[in-house]
């Protein structure tokens, strides 16, 4: 009985430890993720549900509104929205 409790406690501590390590490690954004360009993020994220969007579809102000809509629909991260928006406003010229 005591040994069973010990095993369960050990497993629980290990699980919490692994989860904590994952969470703490997960808070750091890896460099290759942080360095992704707006064009790359546009290609990756804007294909998830609909087809990839032609940047010339909208003007700058319209992209400001459209990317906010997509932030909420796809729950994109702040960094993704900023970079994709800047890319679209550059590529629509």
């Amino acid at each position: 009985m005591k040994s069973k409790i010990k095993i369960k406690t050990t497993v629980a501590i290990l699980a919490i430890g692994i989860a904590s390590a994952a969470i703490i490690n997960g808070c750091k954004v890896p460099e290759e993720i942080a360095n992704k360009s707006g064009a790359q993020l546009w290609g990756e994220n804007c294909n998830r549900c609909h087809n990839v969007v032609d940047p010339k579809t909208f003007g700058d102000d319209q992209w400001d509104a459209a990317t906010e809509h997509m932030r909420q629909k796809a729950l994109l991260t702040d960094r993704e929205v900023s970079k994709i928006r800047d890319f679209l406003k550059t590529a629509n010229k």
Binding site: I23, E44, D61, Q62, A65, Q72, K73, A74
Partner: protein, 394 residues
Amino acid sequence: MKTKRTFILLMCLSLLMLGLVDRIMAQTDSTTAPVPNSPQGGAEKMLLAGEVSTLWQNNKVVGAPSTNTFAASPLGLMLMPLVKLNDRLFLDVQVAVTANPAPGGGAVASLNEAIIYYRLTPAAYVFAGSFQPRSGIYEGILDDFTNRYCTSPVGMGIGVQTESGIGIQGGFQAGYSKVLYQLYIANGPQLSVDSTGAHNGQLNYGNYIDNNKNKAVGGEIGVLPFSNSSLELGISGQYTPKTGDAGSLFENTSSTSIATYLNYYHVFNPVMVRIQGQYEYTQTQNFKLYSNSSDTATLFPSFDNKISGWFGGATVRLSGSRRTLLSNLELGGRVGQLILPENALWGAKPLNQTTVCLTYWFTWKTPLNLAYDMYTQSGSPTQTQITVRGMWFF
């Protein structure tokens, strides 16, 4: 008492004097005072997006003549004004208008969504209004021009629908993966109770006025485990402790809904592959109380009030082909099922659906679909359906 009255009177007079002085000074002051909470010029950005669709169907039931129809209406219109008020406030509205230009036809407008978002932090947005909660990947995301199979899956639309409430949502990076979340409180579904029993036990969503004091709580958590965001997995749920009218025999009937989904895409040059699937389930509990009531015991049978549905599909597209005609074509196949409580008056045997759809994409947002559906149900003749749908998103 006299002192209190005198004090209030003095306060009102003071405010009136202040207002008068302000007006006099405004007329004589040549400089323009800043308007409180006024944003900088050009801060408000607006986009009027939307879509127009038209759909034609041929239906055939084995043993009966086929019918041709423009579905419920030949033309559908959805308007979506999107307004970025400033860096923190965003308004998102969807209004659907279904029109029939045929003689005697009319138009029906319905509010799909009206949501105001406020940015608390980069990964947390508070929202309020009438919204489609995140309940899987289909409702509100893959159900319009993004539906690559043209017709709706039979197993979807049975769970959580449009709600009125408030919530918080966002997405954030977690190492190489991303996490999405949504939490909300809403009016929740309302239990249908009527003297005929035809819809007893069904849940009605989209209620602007709640029928009891309790609220529904729900949410979703999703993960994109790969760094290229190609795979999204998620699970959502909603719990409503009371769905019946306040003070009624059925007030304490609770409901629980869950949904789980998968959305995957990848380009295996030159072929793009998509795989999508969802399962949803709703249980309306304490339901036997319902059939034991003095009003209904002799009329309505007791039944286990569970509904479930699922679909799974995949599409392929030669997106890497140099021939425009080939690169714009997408072929999809989908299977699905809807399971209703058999002993309910509105119940049925499990309904199975098989779909094949060919889509031509004129632009990224303008599909022309040609779909073939087959519906089978134990004890019923097989039904086949051919659908042609044109859709233009603007």
